[in-house]
Symmetry: C2
Subunit: 569 residues, 2 copies
């Protein structure tokens, strides 16, 4: 491709940007120190050595480039404004200037009716001002520097009045401050948004987990988030980005509150840590998307879809200069693990030195693979799928087992036991088609969005639950006819199997929850090699058992067999 891209800053974001650019023969010129992370993987004479705050160097970069962008927002936007006259800058310098000042960024979003955490600026960085602000916002609150704050720097949690002086001592020297109301969030979400010349697209909604205000883990997609909240997060992220000017990718961080409301936390006008996972997990990464956006190259909504669930874990500098390399060596021992080291040399503690991405066919499997790496990085700090500690659960159970009445439960037990044997997660619910028809409809119509793949529905007599559930969901529904106290269960069977054309139910025989569970396993196995293999194992085991019985029968004869093994005379 024939356009040259100039980038202010050559850290890890620049490095991953140029890794994408190299594939497209897009020349990228970095302005940064000589052996910076990005320059290590881009060998040509067009780079400029110097600070990305140096005016002459920025002018030189612009002169060598067809479009200028940034990998960090803490740049001299007046220089960007100057060079904009001759070289396009993406996103617009006004966007970077507005976002640089985190308080101004918030005010701007409020003006455009985008919900953000309530914030008040301190007129001066003094304890007295902080006290005034805390009277309105309450305690705890987060004291923040308006500028130059990232990766936890510039944030100070103020939990009580005793923190006032330490907070001012810590941040006062940074200049202007503001207080932000403490967000009692259920989880943190993030969406990477791509603004092109014509369209605004978004990558999936992900879940971010921070430690000491530094992003540590990213789960794509966000776990346990309903379709409705996911859509809301997507819409909100696009709306927030649409308030700004110019093209490129934007990282939008949000709080999901306990009541389901979403607040924007902050926006980055560039590729973002919460989008690293896209390199392996999406057809086009955030880096390539940024290049395509600023160079007006084609991009498609589908390019940003998730190919597989993914988890990203940051590799931070540890106690020793090479702790991060030791960590990377440990991570290499895990399957399906992609390691990205940034070439930053010796580490400072807490500095981002690299990251790990695990992709797998299911989030549950990705969690299992990354668990030892999380444990290695911070023993005991993080919840896993198997860990019932606070936070949303892992991806939902693929099988939902529902029944019209608790009296159906004994019939279902053998099937549930078999699902456990086959290592298939399930959830059980009592929803009656006749007594809680609205709950039934709500459950069924949201089952697919909630991540279930198959529903097993048990009912007896006028057994409407399987068919009514099928009427409300596009998922396959397996009906288990339960034998009622009166009759042989033919009423249950026919109520379930004789569905009208257009609404299918998969019926099994009366009380046969085992076959319902096996059918669910076979259905999941159609798309999951692991489950398929376990079904085959079950079939092989059943074959073996019947052959053993046959051998026994040949050994002892029919009469003795009945007496000894069937307990009958």
């Amino acid at each position: 491709m024939d356009k040259r891209v100039g980038v202010l800053g050559g850290g890890q974001l620049g490095r991953m940007l140029v890794e994408a650019a190299n594939l497209l023969e897009i020349r990228v010129n970095f302005l940064d120190a000589a052996n910076s992370s990005a320059k290590q993987v881009s060998n040509h004479a067009g780079h400029i050595e110097g600070s990305f705050k140096d005016a002459a160097a920025i002018r030189q970069l612009a002169a060598n480039s067809d479009v200028v962008t940034v990998e960090i927002e803490h740049v001299d936007t007046y220089m960007l404004e100057e060079i904009s006259a001759t070289t396009p800058v993406q996103p617009d310098y006004k966007t970077i200037r507005m976002i640089q000042d985190k308080f101004a960024q918030k005010e701007h979003l409020i003006k455009h009716h985008v919900p953000v955490a309530k914030s008040i600026a301190l007129e001066k960085p003094t304890v007295g001002e902080l006290e005034k602000v805390s009277a309105t916002l309450g305690l705890p609150l987060m004291l923040k520097s308006r500028r130059e704050a990232y990766d936890g720097r510039g944030n100070f949690p103020v939990k009580s009045k005793a923190d006032f002086q330490p907070a001012i001592d810590a941040l006062g020297k940074n200049g202007e401050l503001y207080g932000e109301q403490w967000a009692q969030f259920k989880m943190e979400l993030a969406v990477m948004v791509v603004k092109t010349k014509y369209q605004t697209y978004s990558f999936p909604t992900v879940e971010t987990i921070h430690e000491n205000s530094i992003c540590k883990l990213v789960y794509a997609p966000a776990r346990g988030v309903s379709a409705e909240i996911n859509q809301k997060a997507q819409d909100l992220a696009k709306k927030a980005v649409s308030c700004f000017w110019g093209r490129g990718v934007f990282g939008v961080e949000m709080f999901l509150l306990q009541d389901g409301e979403l607040l924007i936390n902050e926006i980055a006008p560039r590729p973002h840590n919460s989008g690293h996972y896209t390199i392996e997990a999406c057809p086009v990464s955030q880096y390539e998307a940024h290049l395509r956006a600023i160079l007006d190259l084609p991009l498609h909504e589908e390019d940003l879809q998730l190919r597989e669930p993914a988890i990203m874990l940051n590799i931070l500098g540890g106690d020793k200069p090479d702790s991060h390399l030791q960590f990377a060596r440990e991570a290499l021992k895990q399957r399906r693990t992609k390691i990205h080291l940034y070439g930053k040399g010796e580490a400072r503690k807490g500095r981002k030195m690299g990251h790990i991405t695990v992709t797998a066919p299911t989030m549950r499997e990705a969690e299992a693979i990354i668990a030892p790496m999380i444990a290695y990085s911070t023993p005991g700090k993080y919840r896993l799928a198997a860990d019932p500690s606070p936070g949303p659960s892992a991806d939902p159970a693929p099988v939902a087992v529902i029944m019209g009445s608790d009296s159906d439960l004994p019939v279902l037990l053998p099937g549930l036991a078999l699902l456990r044997t086959l290592q298939i997660a399930y959830t059980t619910r009592i929803v009656s088609a006749h007594r809680t028809p609205n709950d039934m409809a709500t459950f069924a119509s949201s089952a697919a969005a909630n991540g279930h793949k198959v529903i097993i529905a048990a009912a007896g007599g006028a057994a409407h639950l399987p068919g009514m559930t099928a009427a409300h969901t596009p998922l396959p529904v397996i009906g288990v006819p339960v034998k009622p106290s009166i009759g042989d269960g033919m009423d249950s069977l026919l109520s379930i199997v004789n569905m009208p054309r257009g609404v299918p139910v998969a019926a099994v025989s009366v009380n046969n929850s085992v076959n319902a569970a096996l059918l669910a396993a076979r259905i999941l196995g159609a798309g999951d090699e692991g489950v398929r293999k376990r079904v085959e194992g079950y079939m092989a085991q059943a074959e073996k058992e019947v052959r053993e019985k046959d051998e026994r029968l040949r050994g002892v004869g029919a009469e003795e067999y009945v007496e000894r093994f069937l307990g009958k005379k």
Copy 2:
């Protein structure tokens, strides 16, 4: 990682190798010209400028490196032998020396009982010798140079005696020649094999399509290849590589003959064009696998599995120096398309300038996406999924619809029509549980391996087909009870639904092939968002139709409705 890798050659294979190495902070030193493809993405002072056939340069490379490898086999193996005394060379120089001489390579494989195409060396490069060889091998035959042959150079198809003189004229100057029996192959397959210190692993079996002896397309996995042949290809590739010495990845190219036999074509002791797809399609690429193998870093069988079906299309130099860039720009217009350009500058016609990889949830979708790019690169040259021209079909139909008798066919027609409406491919078969029990067992037991995901089985009376099929396959089986000429079909229904515990069948109501088709769609939709959306569309349409009828009923009243719209009085 602390070991330095020295590489003879810095072309596109080296470039993709160092792209993988950069992520792991593995220092790679290239010996090649100054601005070679690989050096462009690796900016450090350790590279050596010069020819990878220059002795002094090779010694210098070895002195700077902890392990030496090659990205091309046409190197001075005597130099590799010399440096082996002080620096490990992977794979072993003996391997590279043996493989360099394609005729010696074949003789070596034969000695190890690995099947290869029959070949005879010409004692001298003369027409007389060629005539002698053709008397044994028959015509056509392929005349090949023993050395320095790749990407079609050094091959000459000899179709008749008239080609003798031109063939000798073309290849005689290359030195030693051999004739190879013309392989009447059904398709060409390839497997990338990884030899580590302890294990031999393999990537999936892929299908390669060549044009003028240059690899043009790679389909991963190979289309329409049975599980049995796939396994045979995997075993053969590993066996062939095990005849050689040292560690690293090897590209194994094979012919699949009409009778199902496999012959080794040739082996490359390095990453290979047929493995480019692994960058996007596998957790660990062939390049990273090579690094892990030669540096004794961990590797897992699962790292080499396919994440999604993939198709790779080479971008060759065209008529103009920038034709390949124009091609890349066209390709960018397609969704899910990853472009790799190699930074080779101006193109020579036919030179490999880059490649394109498309990954998608199904091979059919990947084929649809890449079709316009194939058409752009060589109009009318390649078969597509929809194209019934020779060659194996695309990935198999997800739904197999089977019946015990052709008399069941009319009942199935509405279901088949619905599958077409929902854009779900199916295949139809007559296999009787009672009259062709062996065919039924064979079909059912190979259905999963043949790529089917769901089976719909229709049967009437003593309707054993669905249950017997379920007994032979781990796939979900949907049973359609067909109403026999005598009775109401309850016999069919109960024969299908009342399966013993352990072998499930999903029963629908009598003659309801529509619901069977919908159930199949819902099952596929559990793992395929596109199908799920079409099922939802169908449900919305059905809802609309009933509401229209309701409106009509409210408009005209019950009596007129029956008369006008139900055709009854």
